[in-house]
């Protein structure tokens, strides 16, 4: 696969190559993390900030592009909410019950993911179809009495935390080297989360192509 299809000189440069000319393909993931600000209107842009302070936040090496001859075949999307279990007052009967389950419900009820490559939108999905496919499998046992209206402990993930539970694309998307790409998560109105502002991760699952070295 020619990774620089628009460069007519690429073949001539091979004689000066400082890398082995062959490519290798490995299983890979591109991910980035941005904070969702509670009680504010959020329009979060992923993959455009380049490297972040630590590897748990992103593995991007440059802002908006894949460096060198690296390319990526995106086969699936994942969306992970980095929340913690919540203990909250039980809402009055007939009211919405806030907590970790409600955090997920609010985020996916109104959120939309949009992937742009170059200047063109290549994927647009409501957030409720994009699971994390991983995360805590929660169980609780509690004891004691809590004064009326009581207390609720809960935890939730986006979809069941099973590794094959990712939004797999019927048609994969190829991101060529040094082409701009970004993912935007948007919500039309402010959302208040239990536990306050929370970090969100968008991950693309697929194959990383890079020079053999």
């Amino acid at each position: 696969m020619n990774l620089l299809p628009n460069n007519p000189f690429f073949r001539d440069y091979q004689q000066y190559n400082t890398q082995y000319p062959a490519l290798e393909v490995i299983g890979g993931m591109l991910y980035d993390t941005v904070q969702f600000v509670s009680a504010a209107v959020n329009n979060l842009i992923f993959f455009t900030a380049g490297p972040r302070a630590s590897w748990d936040l992103t593995n991007m090496e440059a802002a908006s592009v894949l460096t060198g001859n690296k390319a990526f075949l995106c086969r699936a999307f994942r969306f992970y909410v980095k929340q913690l279990p919540q203990s909250v007052a039980r809402a009055a009967a007939g009211a919405v019950q806030p907590g970790a389950v409600d955090n997920i419900a609010q985020l996916i009820n109104a959120g939309v993911l949009r992937l742009t490559v170059g200047a063109k939108v290549y994927a647009e999905f409501p957030l409720w179809v994009i699971p994390s496919g991983a995360g805590v499998f929660p169980l609780y046992g509690s004891d004691g009495n809590a004064a009326d209206p009581g207390q609720v402990q809960d935890y939730a993930t986006c979809g069941s935390p099973t590794v094959e539970n990712a939004l797999t694309l019927p048609q994969p998307l190829f991101i060529a080297p040094q082409i701009n790409f970004s993912v935007v998560l948007s919500w039309p109105a402010a959302i208040t989360l239990s536990g306050g502002s929370t970090f969100l991760t968008v991950a693309m699952d697929g194959e990383l192509l890079r020079p053999v070295q």
Binding site: V101, D102, V129, P138, Y140, A146, G150, Q151
Partner: protein, 208 residues
């Protein structure tokens, strides 16, 4: 499989698009609020104000030269967890789970392309294939008991979508819609509750 419209050949030199089409993974969705008096909801016929509600560019059809191959259908109820008092034995426990059960038990679903029906299904066959997956625990000294619940339409797993045995191809500028029917009014704990219908499959569009 695009429409074979014969444009004047000399217009090609002024083309603002590449003549080829491309196929990308796509989804078409639309959202309408259900109220307890609702007996019918019609989806995809009106473009909406924000993209979380719908990504239809125009109402009722795909603008030329966009087309869509529907491989599976999803249904998602945009509800939130509910708090309720525990109902006396032998009563129906109201709450978020009951909301889903009520909608499923008497709802039906119909796809129309052009003037022809392309599928009628009971609503319970459609699942979201997404949504919160969690656990809730309540402590309360109320003798009558308090509870909190949340329900989704089927297991929230991306493989859990109603896949059509034969995909449906929707051509450009062909009218299509989805209707949901209920024979009688329901009594959900909270309305209006937005219901979202989504087609999953391949989007065919011009290379640009």
């Amino acid at each position: 499989m695009q429409q074979q419209i014969q444009y004047p050949e000399n217009y090609r030199q002024f083309n603002t698009q590449y003549p080829r089409s491309e196929v990308v993974s796509g989804m078409l969705w639309d959202t309408i609020a259900f109220t307890n008096a609702t007996l019918q909801l019609t989806f995809f016929t009106v473009a909406k104000a924000t993209v979380d509600l719908s990504n239809m560019i125009i109402g009722g059809q795909l603008p030329y030269p966009m087309a869509f191959l529907v491989r599976s259908i999803r249904l998602f109820l945009k509800q939130r967890p509910e708090s309720a008092n525990v109902v006396a034995p032998a009563g129906t426990q109201v709450g978020a789970v009951n909301n889903i059960a009520l909608l499923y038990n008497t709802g039906s679903f119909q796809i129309t392309v052009g003037a022809k029906q392309y599928g009628i299904y009971p609503l319970w066959i459609l699942s979201s294939g997404g949504g919160p997956y969690g656990f809730m625990n309540v402590i309360n000294i109320l003798i009558a008991g308090g509870m909190a619940d949340y329900g989704g339409m089927g297991t929230p797993h991306s493989r859990n979508a109603f896949t059509l045995a034969q995909p449906l191809f929707i051509e450009p500028q062909m009218s299509f819609k989805v209707d949901l029917y209920w024979p009688a009014a329901l009594a959900l704990t909270r309305t209006p509750l937005p219901l979202c219908v989504a087609f999953e499959g391949d989007l065919i569009r011009a290379v640009q």
